[in-house]
């Protein structure tokens, strides 16, 4: 007992392991939590104590969120950050969520306080959310469930066992179907993929519908990194602001991608760089980071040749931003803007069309954007109605993610799972942007 009290006292000072779940508008804010020493964002519920959901989530994510919550070990709690007014039904599923409306500092102190209360006993651990599902009992004849019909004579714990399927090397072994769900740690938030595994190779996959499209029709917050691009659809926006937002977005992507490849410390360095983009130390900092990335061989052995678009695939990459330019397509909406051309904007392309080329493309674009921002001064963009977002051509009604999703099955089939994750990470699919673009189109159509 004394030992237990001592341990809880010691544990109270540890960084709180949190499981971040990003909803609309809060993706970047959650990424920033990685810099905080008081919190430690983790990937899976089994490692977490506090579920930090942020922003608003579509209704259909209620069950996955509840599963995430139930997968956390006791003592656990839920904290919801800036839920907005559409997270009500999801919030009500939890017994005692803590709602925080405010800045990151307030969130951090709330999480620390919640954990302290959990451990001191003032707050009971959150009860499981999902009711007991009517799971089929173990069927069978013998004392261990054996016998009966079917491969093992039953349905152990209500879940079947995998069935066989022929494979290209002639063996008939089990294939495992799996829906890799909306909050898989290395996927963009909201991406669902129905995949079939044979061993660790993806035999086929199917991305499911973008869930952010059918969000209820109130004014939803746009995350700060995207806001300037959506404004540029309607009015001229200072180019410096656009380019700084682009550089910041690429660096946030870089932080995620580096973590996916086993370099979380470098990812935190990229996040720290996003705070200093306006100073003079920005470009040398980015160059140092690029050098560290080259040294880490992530562009050599982790991504070279991975997720390469073949010639047929390249033709469908129109409007896909850095992905298209990495495949050699000279595709950039900024070329049609006279102000950009006057600033000396030059298109950067790579050849290779694989993940390494996409990394290089984005790194080069960060440096280019910083240079453009410095030269631009107070000039504004000219063209409205379409804008080159960090992911590609954005108009009211169409965004790069909706162009990239149909390409996934052709790209991922036959890849080993690690390569598949590296490919998806390198594509930078942003379902939130796509959902907002479609909502904008329907709002405009509704208004006219």
């Amino acid at each position: 007992m004394v030992l237990r009290r001592l341990l809880t006292r010691l544990a109270a000072g540890a960084p709180v392991p949190v499981l971040p779940v990003a909803g609309l508008g809060m993706r970047d804010a959650l990424r920033e939590l990685r810099i905080r020493p008081e919190l430690r964002p983790v990937d899976v519920p089994a490692a977490a104590s506090v579920l930090v959901a942020a922003g608003s989530l579509p209704e259909e994510f209620g069950d996955p969120l509840a599963l995430l919550h139930d997968g956390m070990p006791h003592p656990r709690a839920v904290v919801w950050w800036n839920p907005g007014n559409s997270a009500g039904p999801l919030l009500r599923r939890f017994a005692d969520p803590t709602v925080v409306d405010g800045s990151a500092d307030e969130l951090v102190s709330a999480v620390v306080r919640v954990r302290r209360e959990l451990y001191s006993g003032h707050r009971p651990s959150s009860e499981p959310v999902l009711a007991e599902t009517g799971r089929a009992p173990w069927e069978g004849v013998g004392p261990y469930g054996q016998g009966g019909s079917g491969m093992t004579g039953g349905v152990p714990y209500g879940r079947p066992l995998a069935e066989v399927a022929p494979d290209r090397d002639g063996l008939r072994l089990d294939v495992v179907p799996l829906t890799v769900g909306p909050f898989f740690p290395q996927f963009p938030p909201g991406l669902r993929l129905e995949a079939t595994f044979s061993g660790d190779v993806v035999v086929d996959c199917l991305p499911l519908v973008n869930p952010f499209v059918d969000i209820a029709h109130h004014a939803l917050p746009v995350r700060p990194g995207l806001d300037v691009f959506f404004r540029a659809l309607f009015e001229p926006v200072p180019i410096a602001e656009l380019e700084l937002a682009r550089a910041r977005d690429h660096l946030v992507w870089l932080a995620d991608a580096l973590s996916a490849h086993g370099l979380p410390a470098l990812g935190v360095r990229a996040l720290r760089l996003t705070h200093e983009l306006e100073g003079t130390a920005a470009v040398p900092g980015v160059r140092r980071l690029s050098r560290a990335i080259e040294w880490s061989q992530v562009l050599r052995w982790s991504t070279r040749g991975v997720g390469r678009f073949d010639a047929a695939g390249r033709t469908s990459l129109g409007g896909c931003g850095p992905v298209a330019r990495a495949a050699g397509l000279p595709d950039d909406a900024r070329m049609e803007d006279a102000t950009y051309r006057a600033l000396g904007f030059e298109l950067i392309v790579q050849d290779g069309a694989d993940a390494a080329a996409r990394w290089r493309q984005r790194l080069a674009e960060v440096v280019q954007s910083l240079a453009l921002a410095k030269r631009a001064g107070a000039q504004r963009s000219e063209v409205t109605g379409q804008v080159e977002s960090p992911r590609g051509l954005l108009t009211a009604g169409s965004a790069p993610a909706s162009r990239l999703l149909p390409l996934l099955p052709g790209l991922l089939e036959g890849l080993e799972w690690g390569d598949a994750v590296a490919t998806i990470v390198s594509l930078d699919i942003d379902l939130e942007e796509a959902g907002l673009a479609e909502r904008l189109a329907s709002a405009q159509a509704g208004a006219t």
Binding site: D63, D70, P75, E132, R159, G181, L415
Partner: protein, 119 residues
Amino acid sequence: MLLGPLGVALAVFIAALMAVLLVERAGEPAAHGAPSPTERVPFAGVLPPQVHAWSRYHARYYVMALVFLVFDMEMVYMYPWAVVFLREGGIAMVEMAMFIAILLLGVLYAWRERSLEWS
């Protein structure tokens, strides 16, 4: 108790095993009762898995495993060779070089036949 070195090594192994097992048993607070069924769902990309993970997994590197067996047998021969090498002189080196060369031909064949890759 006076054990030989192998005995002490074995004792260290077993003692470490027991110690960790004890720590695992000791660290199981039963304060929260048995987990509910939804708390036991394996993590499979957030949504519950459709089938159990235990399956006839297609480990595609089975050809490489066969090549490994061959080289493992060769390693067994290299252990005593390394000990008597200096004593036996150049003859030992030539003999082992011939042995290794024949095995390396096998690896070269496996490499060219792309049996070391599988995707």
